[in-house]
């Protein structure tokens, strides 16, 4: 492969809550400019994995490197600096409900004092247009928006700081099919034209194939399969097959009793 260190590298990352093991030795490398999609059932720890990379949770074991630097033993100040080049879309958007929509979108810019408030508002409107939001909602409170609109505001907030790494936690969940496609195209655009490294979580296989250079499946705390989208359909992996076809029979046992 290349000589440059991967943008993001997880080695043997483990995380448990109490006795409940969520991540059980995750290994994953994401190259610079690559777009990797993580798929897997609900509750398998996809969000937990991203939170470990972001430093919101501390893994029990293993190492996480960004640009070849171990992020787990960074000082808070170094961590804060690193966060300036990372964008994150939370699963439930996590918008600040004490601030109007436009201030949510430009929050990172203002926090880092990259520009004044007037300019921040202009940039916010521009990013909102990218995700299909009209300027007339700029002064509303996020609580007054529909779930899908909140998601898009969260997306605009994540890309507003022009990050070099961007995480999307279920970006298309809760959107109508057309808007989902707009968001898929936007993620591809951010990844290809802006050159950001992207790590996306999704359940939506159509979306995964559109935005991923590589797809990785998380199951029982491990990455059990990873490969390009074209190989997904003939992977020969029973777990993956069952997941992408949404079958109830197969090696993945649902914890429900008949």
């Amino acid at each position: 492969m290349t000589d440059a260190p991967p943008k993001i590298s997880l080695k043997n990352v483990k995380k448990a809550f109490g006795d409940k093991v969520v991540l059980d030795g995750v290994n994953l490398d994401v190259a610079v400019g690559e777009s990797v999609v993580i798929i897997g059932g609900s509750g398998t720890g996809k969000s937990v994995a991203i939170k470990c990379i972001l430093g919101l949770l501390t893994p029990d074991e293993g190492t996480i490197e960004i640009d070849g630097r171990d992020v787990l033993d960074m000082t808070p100040r170094e961590r804060e600096k690193l966060n300036m080049q990372i964008g994150m879309l939370f699963q439930a958007a996590a918008l600040f409900d004490s601030l109007p929509v436009w201030e949510n979108v430009s929050f990172g810019l203002l926090a880092e004092k990259r520009c004044g408030r007037d300019e921040a508002r202009d940039i916010a409107l521009e990013k909102m247009a990218l995700v299909g939001l009209k300027p007339d909602i700029a002064d509303l409170s996020p609580a007054d928006l529909s779930g899908g609109m909140q998601k898009r505001v969260g997306l605009a907030r994540a890309i507003a700081i022009d990050p070099s790494i961007i995480f999307f936690d279920e970006p298309t969940t809760g959107l109508d099919p057309i808007m989902a496609d707009v968001i898929n195209k936007l993620i591809v655009h951010v990844n290809e034209n802006v050159g950001a490294t992207a790590l996306t979580i999704t359940h939506d296989m159509a979306s995964a194939k559109k935005i991923g250079d590589r797809i990785a499946m998380l199951y029982e705390g491990k990455i059990i399969w990873a490969g390009p989208p074209d190989d997904v359909d003939q992977s020969g992996n029973d777990y993956l097959d069952q997941f992408i076809h949404g079958r109830t029979t197969g090696p993945i046992k649902m914890a429900i009793r008949a």
Binding site: F90, E112, R157
Partner: protein, 261 residues
């Protein structure tokens, strides 16, 4: 034998849980306080919190103070009449209000109003991952959420209590003059003569300490809340109850420091 062991075990568990909470609270207090003294400061948020605490709490605190002053005048009049010391009621009112009731009542009212609101707001931000979002946007949540509230609480409570002092004394004056028939000039003279600057200052220092306690408890319980709406509800209750107990507890300690010689 096993019964004693079980008993000792449960004592041990309670003790460990207590020490764990005390340790977490101490760390939170140290971290929160140190952020109050280090840049950047979010003046916009500090200002908003100051208005919330200092201005919007005025009606509640003022009402409490005026009735406290009125009831003090009435009580001490009827009580002191038994040994013909009615003349002292002006002193009783002004000393009780400035040294004790002003700061304590204002502290308790603000705990109910502000401490609860802070715990609910920060708790909701915790369970909806807004606090995580702050971190990813290069903003330290301790600095952005907690420090401004502590600063506002510590600085605004003395103002609030100073106004409560005036209103409370005025309440006593109303009852003394219009109900008990005291001479207004004499009553004011008595109020003024026996009041020392240290009485007022000690009350204002208490107020500042109570402002710290209320905002700290609101932030601490909100910040550490978990488990959805129920967790936020529990955080709100805990913030008010713990702040109220700590206020009464520190009221005694501070009084001991100021006046026990």
């Amino acid at each position: 034998m096993t019964m004693t062991l079980g008993f000792l075990q449960s004592i041990g568990r309670v003790f460990l849980a207590f020490m764990g909470t005390a340790g977490r609270l101490s760390l939170f207090t140290i971290s929160a306080t140190s952020h109050c003294f280090r840049a950047p400061w979010y003046f916009r948020i500090i200002g908003r919190q100051m208005i919330e605490i200092g201005y919007y709490s005025l009606p509640v605190v003022g009402l409490t103070a005026v009735f406290a002053g009125m009831v003090l005048a009435l009580q001490s009049y009827t009580g002191f009449a038994r040994f013909s010391a009615e003349g002292a009621i002006a002193n009783v009112v002004v000393l009780s209000i400035t040294r004790e009731l002003g700061p304590v009542l204002a502290g308790l009212m603000v705990a109910g109003r502000i401490g609860a609101a802070m715990a609910a707001e920060i708790g909701t931000m915790r369970v909806t991952e807004q606090i995580d979002a702050l971190t990813t946007l290069s903003t330290n949540p301790m600095k952005y959420l907690v420090a401004p509230r502590l600063i506002a609480g510590v600085t605004m409570m003395p103002f609030l209590v100073f106004i409560a002092d005036i209103i409370g004394v005025f309440g006593g004056y109303l009852v003394a003059v219009y109900k008990l028939g005291f001479n207004p000039a004499n009553y004011l003279q008595n109020t003024w003569n026996f009041l020392e600057i240290s009485d007022v200052i000690s009350g204002l220092v208490k107020a500042s300490a109570f402002g710290f306690i209320v905002t700290l408890m609101g932030c601490y319980h909100g910040y550490n809340s978990k488990g959805g709406a129920q967790g936020v509800g529990a955080a709100t209750t805990n913030a008010v109850v713990s702040a109220s107990i700590l206020i009464l507890c520190f009221d005694y300690i501070l009084t001991e420091i100021f006046f026990a010689k």
